[in-house]
Symmetry: C2
Subunit: 216 residues, 2 copies
């Protein structure tokens, strides 16, 4: 179904050393931020000499942009990956929520990078988004289409598909962003985060699907 399971992190055309550096950089950038990250810290995380970073990736900016560009590609692909056409819209939605939540859970560092870049104003986002997007039609739009189709088929009431997609993404994503706050305010999420995530999938599907149901 999901092809050969793309690497969780570094692009495949990299050598071992490059891959090690790339993975370390992703983690450090995600944790410390674009400016907070130190080249020495990345070198330590990759267990190599600091000069090696500059040998394989010209400078900090280049390293960051390579990491970020790959992250954007991963994120765009996540929509494709999570969306499987199922017989009913209900099933399609359920599978998407499960898939997308799992994607975010297993790509924590990538998610943090994306959010950070958004908070920073999104200048880099624009460039790399277009690059990762204009090959085929932009990934989120296939989700929009799915909802449009469901509306036309009468499976759900008429709703703005863009807002609906944004709502689904928000609810699947934000609780990972605010995980520390959630865990402070809701002890069960602190005691067993994975169980909380599973609960959340159920809750989200119930709420959103009923919210979209036709009639009233």
């Amino acid at each position: 179904m999901h092809r050969l399971m793309a690497s969780l992190s570094a692009p495949s055309e990299y050598s071992d050393t490059e891959r090690t550096i790339f993975d370390a950089a992703l983690q450090v950038f995600a944790r410390e931020g674009r400016t907070g990250a130190r080249m020495q810290g990345i070198a330590d995380a990759a267990d190599i000499n600091k000069a090696m970073l500059h040998y394989y990736f010209r400078d900090k900016r280049t390293l960051y942009e390579d990491v970020f560009a790959y992250t954007v590609r991963q994120f765009m692909a996540s929509f494709d990956i999570s969306l499987t056409e199922a017989p009913t819209f209900a099933e399609t939605l359920r599978v998407f929520i499960d898939g997308y939540v799992d994607f975010v859970r297993t790509h924590d560092a990538a998610m943090r990078l994306m959010v950070q870049e958004n908070l920073a104003g999104g200048t880099l986002l624009g460039e790399h988004m277009r690059e990762a997007t204009n090959t085929d039609r932009t990934p989120p739009s296939i989700l929009v289409n799915t909802i449009e189709d469901a509306v036309e088929a009468g499976e759900i009431r008429p709703v703005d598909p863009h807002h609906t997609v944004l709502t689904v993404i928000s609810t699947c994503l934000y609780f990972f962003v605010a995980r520390p706050t959630v865990q402070i305010l809701h002890p069960p999420a602190e005691r067993d985060w994975d169980a909380f995530v599973e609960e959340r999938k159920d809750h989200l599907f119930d709420l959103i699907y009923r919210g979209l149901a036709p009639r009233d």
Copy 2:
């Protein structure tokens, strides 16, 4: 209704100079991040000498913590402020969504600080959250109670109030976090953001209220 309209930024016990510094620091920290922000940049934004920063706020860490502590207090208070008991749960929800979205819109810098601190691991969050919280019962819990009451009164179906509150917060907040992405992927939001925000209030209320409605 909302008391005397608390200042949008600096605490009231500050002198003019302190207030100027505080406001500048909030903006710069929110834009550049905790580590990305430069003391010189804050001084420039406040149009004062760099040494003044250290005169009024001991060092960068102190300045940041003062700004952040105030931000946490503001955010906790935002729940109280946005929540007005109305005759029906539908009205209460509508008013809360409107109020909370408006709060986030008008407190952009504060929102960014909160999200950044969450992404950074939330160590500081824990301390300041407790401080801003343990005086009276924690603000989000009054929202949880509101939902519990509505369930008991049969106004909405039985749902987990914690997940429901988290869902409301997510949908009201996340589109501000991801604003650059949203604007790239959805041109109308780029052309007229304020109109998009208003649309979103309607969409969110419709979706969530129907999602919570009893029966099926």
